[in-house]
């Protein structure tokens, strides 16, 4: 067990109860996708895990440890890349290390290494406004990975990208997961993305957000782009779409 939710409910003063999770356990090293209609609390769930919100009720337990306290190292990628526009790609990637107090030399080295891993070795000297959308997300991903986090949180990271770029990034993400397996929570609106990447897919309904389906989808990483054309894949995405339709709001 890596992450456990017990009787979690979360509410915002303006919106009432937005999330209800009586019990959920997430295994170490698993790749979990969260899908659900807009406003069902996916981002809220991620923010709870990231420690950006404190649950109104219930407890969140990490690893062997402490209630309601984040694990030591968490990498996070939001829908927007949130790169600092005044920093070059390598310095953006190195930001977590800079905050941790790593010296400039090793910091740069680690950032370049991470940049190479996400295919940005040619771009390390560029500024964010010189990057394509895909490169921006790669930079954000490299920044989230540079500290070798135990937990990776992705909130619709590729939703602003075109489909080809998105597929490419999905494949690269699967390869990265294969190379260094870490627990990953991915929020997405795309059933193909969820089916391609995840070992386990949680479907949420809205108002309040509750998990209505928990689908295991074990397959080794890195996943072959060809799997997208298999019969089983189509069945899975069709099933997910049906679930989403059934639970899409009122």
């Amino acid at each position: 067990m890596f992450l456990r939710f017990d009787n979690i409910t979360h509410h915002y003063a303006e919106s009432g109860t937005v999330l209800k999770i009586p019990h959920l356990e997430i295994e170490k090293g698993s790749f979990v996708a969260l899908i659900g209609p807009s406003g069902c609390g996916k981002s809220t769930l991620l923010r709870l895990v990231a420690g950006l919100e404190t649950p109104g009720k219930g407890t969140l337990t990490f690893g062997n440890g402490s209630a309601n306290k984040g694990p030591l190292r968490t990498g996070i990628v939001f829908q927007e890349a949130t790169l600092l526009p005044w920093l070059r790609v390598e310095d953006n990637i190195a930001l977590p290390l800079r905050i941790r107090g790593t010296k400039a030399g090793p910091r740069r080295e680690a950032a370049r290494e991470e940049a190479a891993r996400v295919g940005l070795e040619q771009a390390v000297h560029l500024y964010p406004d010189q990057l394509s959308g895909g490169m921006k997300m790669r930079t954000a991903l490299a920044r989230a990975l540079v500290e070798a986090p135990e937990l990776l949180l992705l909130d619709e990271p590729f939703s602003a990208l075109d489909e080809i770029t998105r597929d490419r990034l999905n494949e690269d993400l699967s390869a990265l997961h294969a190379a260094r397996t870490r627990t990953t929570l991915l929020v997405t609106h795309s059933v193909t993305e969820a089916a391609f990447l995840a070992d386990r897919i949680l479907v949420l309904k809205t108002a309040p957000g509750e998990i209505v389906a928990d689908i295991a989808h074990p397959r080794p990483h890195p996943r072959d782009p060809e799997t997208r054309n298999e019969e089983g894949f189509h069945q899975l995405t069709a099933g997910l779409s049906r679930l989403l339709r059934e639970h899409a709001g009122e």
Binding site: A50, G51, L52, F78, L84, W86, L95, I99
Partner: protein, 258 residues
């Protein structure tokens, strides 16, 4: 790069300047306005040439005080903004006084300053400082406080402390705002210095600045010389403003900070 760009960008201002001067000249002739009401453009130039030594000294004196006040604002404004953005308590307790200083009329402040720190350069500089530092402070504070939510969330998930959040995110995010404030301050600096000189300009041995000359020319009804003085004050504001813009461009060519 388009080579003809500088010439093109000068063409339209040149045309409009020629049109304004022609209209001015015509108006004076048609309505046969006397020189003490509205002097002819060339009379202003003539007056400026005749009084060049007074005007140049005045420009230097006023310019020195205005520049010193502006530089003080650039430094102190930044430091104060950082403090105000750092702590809500400081903001709530200090900002009212910053606002108070900005809203108290210069004509009341200047005599007090003359009484406290003496006439001439010190009080003219102080007035310039007091007039220019508000736009610097308020723009910079706003820039620091308006760092985007997602970036602040990012700093939090990276477990940045307050100091890191300030200097890795808020300060760089505020630099363009700082420069906007500085540009406004640059145009205010000559105005502040000249207004200050109405009370504090003479004395302390040295020669008077532009503000002092305004009083002299006004008392003699030398309208053409008043115009010349006004034009010099405009020139000073434009120079300061351009200096800030150029400095910012220079910095921008080294980094994306501004």
């Amino acid at each position: 790069m388009r080579k003809d760009l500088p010439i093109r960008s000068l063409l339209w201002p040149a045309i409009s300047a020629a049109a304004v001067l022609a209209a001015w000249h015509l108006a004076v002739l048609i309505y046969s306005l006397p020189g003490y009401l509205l002097p002819l453009p060339h009379a202003i130039v003539q007056a400026a040439v005749e009084r060049r030594s007074d005007l140049l000294t005045g420009f230097a004196v006023t310019g020195g005080a205005a520049l010193t006040g502006l530089l003080l604002s650039a430094l102190a404004g930044f430091v104060l903004a950082t403090l105000l953005a750092w702590s809500r308590g400081l903001r709530l307790s200090l900002f009212p006084y910053v606002l108070l200083l900005q809203t108290v009329p210069v004509v009341i402040l200047t005599p007090l300053l003359v009484i406290w720190i003496g006439p001439g350069f010190p009080s003219v500089t102080a007035i310039t400082f007091l007039i220019t530092f508000f736009p610097v402070v308020s723009n910079t504070v706003h820039g620091m406080l308006s760092a985007p939510r997602p970036m602040l969330d990012l700093m939090r998930t990276l477990q940045a402390d307050r100091r890191q959040e300030m200097f890795l995110l808020r300060v760089p995010h505020a630099l363009p705002h700082y420069f906007s404030g500085l540009r406004i301050a640059a145009t205010l600096a000559p105005i502040g210095a000249i207004a200050g000189e109405f009370f504090a300009g003479s004395g302390s041995g040295g020669s008077g600045g532009l503000g002092y000359l305004v009083i002299v020319y006004f008392s003699r009804h030398e309208t053409d010389a008043l115009f010349a003085t006004g034009l010099l004050a405009c020139l000073m504001g434009i120079l300061f403003h351009s200096a800030v813009v150029l400095f910012r461009r220079l910095l921008h060519s080294y980094s994306r900070l501004v």
